[in-house]
Amino acid sequence: MHVSFEQWLTEVANYVFLALAIPTLVGAWMVVTSTNIVRAVLYLVVTLAGSAALFIMLGAEFVGWTVVLVYIGAVIILFLIGIMITRAPLGSHEELSHPATVKIPAALLSIVLFTVVAWAVADAFGGLIIPPDVGATRTGQLAEVIFQRFVIPFEVVSLVLLSALVGGIALARKDDPEEPA
Amino acid sequence: MEWFDNGWGIALTVFLPLVGAVVLLAIPRAQETALKWTALVFSGAAFVSGLALLFRFDFSRTGDIQLGVDLTWIEAINARYHVGVDGISLPLVVLSVFITVLVVLYSWNHWPEPHNPKMLLALIMVIAVGMTGTFVALDLVLFFVFFEVVLLPMYFMIGIWGDRGIRHVPLFNWNIEMRLYASLKFFVFTLFGSAFMLLGFLALYFRSGDFLDQRTFDMLELAQLGSAGRFAGSFAFWVFFALFLGFAVKVPMWPLHTWLPDAHTAAPTIGSVILAAILLKLGTYAFIRISIPILPQEAKNWAWLIGVLAVIGIIYGSLACLAQTDMKRLIAYSSVGHMGFVMLGIATLTSIGINAAIIGMVAHGLITGLLFFLAGSMAHRYHTRDMGRLGGNMKLMPVMGVLLGFAAMASLGLPALAGFWGEFMALMASFNPLAGLDPTLFRGLMIAGAIGTVLTAGYMLWMLRSVNFGEPSDEWVGHDFHDVDAWEWLAWAPLVIATIAVGIYPRIVLGFTNDAVTQLVARAFGG
């Protein structure tokens, strides 16, 4: 089931993919480079929305909507609250990133990492197509598996969330209630 | 007892101290007695387990790996939890657990500043795991992990509990706190060596895929490939070089030795003892266990260099000792010389030489361990290690003086004490090295080594003269020095007895090693 680049170009779905992937990447790029902290976090929404759209496109509808709800709905708000609380400088600010002495090696590292992995991926999976007849995953099917096969990990995750909740409160609470902030 | 033979015995010996470390962490800091007893119980249990290994060990086939187990560990890279002991590693395993118990006993009432026994004991326990583990590991990854486990606790031990005096570094004119300088130096040197060692291991791993269905880190499989001559040419050359760097730093061989005097001098007493008694042996053991069986041909090619460096170490270490004024530093440099004899034995690649190396390692562990205990206790009482200020110790603390005399005599290789066998047999081996090595060169090395024994006697007598004899200086008049106390006796008497026992009855060590070494040499070099 290999496909050549020409064949790839003939498929409409791939243009949809590109239309989703490019904003995703651009959003990610802005998250790591933007000089405005609020904007950086908002660009994260773009990236996450892009990924959610890709999930839906792949038929993983439940996952996609979960991303939208949990991430875009809750996590981003958490981030914004974090920014407010820590009195991070609003507006454009150069100091959000390290100077070029750090940026250049980091960029080099990222590029090398990308090249190596991408090369390896292309080498291994290049041209293997995802079966076109793949249907959407029904949420019910997913639920069955979760609550049968994966029920223990599921419970563990719930415990993790609970302890994170407790831990978050414990950490964020003031050490000494008597002492004024 | 089947469970014990199937790897659990070794696992107990190795990991009981780790359990001890965890338990220690759970005990509150303030309960010092509980902490001490916990450490003693767990190290004692590991020691008992180590002794039990002796009972289950089949002495009719010391050349084979016994009591071990081979389990899947990291499947992706075929790294395995493969452990086991043979006649070469078992004495060293027992030595490690033995010394650990003594160190815990000694530390009972000798706490270096800053106090904190909880952390210190936990570190000792972790070090014990690394030491014993290194001697039982038969998988290169496992070996590497254990080898490195030792590093960090030791770094902290030197860096936190070390000597706070100021070390002046010439040439660059720095004045640095001794413990910082020494711990960093120790860390960087060892890390430097380890990096090369890891490279060597990886290279062997990838290369093994050319000959086997699956790439392997297993020492025994690699040794089989090695004795079949699979690793050859420039590949083998560079791999041996990488391994050599890694192990030689640990030994340490001249000129990679300079971390040793600093680390030994700066470390707290128990740290020095562990360093000298066990850690140095990791390097020499690795030469015997890894370099020679896996790369026999290269071992042959490199033997002359190892021999020459070893002898330079002997002479150089002894001469450096003669110029010392710091007692602990003198003992530290003496280790360079003694490990030179061990390496000379290994360099001959004969069964006599490697036997000599192992018995030399055990003896050095016992004797130099005792010397560092003594130096530490004396420094604790006098608050100085400067031999110019000491003197007349026999008057102030006669028992300590006699013990120091005993240890010094043992260290200079007095026959019928443990230190003699390693030195004498290493010289003996270098008269007739392995066929194919240059006998003329090695005979020259033998003569130089014999001169080294004379110099060794010279500095040891000189140390005794300046520390033990003469009238004590006015500085000490009126001080009430308490002589050896009960805990010190508990920690030292076993070393004294073991030194004498190995001296007059070397079969205690040779009974393990001789067949094993003969087989190892036969497998590696044929015949």
Binding site: A13, L78, L109 | -
Partner: protein
């Protein structure tokens, strides 16, 4: 649709996220960069799940788990940042070198 296009997209996102983790000075933004990396991983998991037509939907379920854990992580992470900010009045990771010897 090929599998490679999704995986390479994931790789690119991951690399960008790594770049962010290294270069960002503000702790909140470091966390955001970590989220980008997690998103990259999620894309990989789902793509392979679909490609393999897994009957257990392991890839998708793991993605759900990751989302849950990531939410917890952000919560804890922000709480820690808050703590640090309270103690040091700064959320600049540059100053967070307590782990130095």
């Amino acid at each position: 649709m090929t599998i490679a296009q999704f995986v390479i997209l994931g790789t690119a996102l991951f690399s960008i996220g790594l770049y962010g983790v290294i270069t960002r000075r503000n702790a909140v933004l470091v966390l955001a960069s970590v989220e980008v990396m997690l998103a990259a991983v999620n894309i990989n998991l789902v793509a392979f799940d679909v490609y393999l037509a897994d009957q257990l939907y392991a890839g998708q379920i793991f993605t759900l788990f990751i989302i849950a854990v990531a939410a917890a992580e952000v919560g804890i992470g922000l709480a820690i940042i808050l703590m640090i900010f309270r103690n040091r009045h700064d959320a600049d990771v540059d100053e967070l070198d307590l782990m130095r010897y």
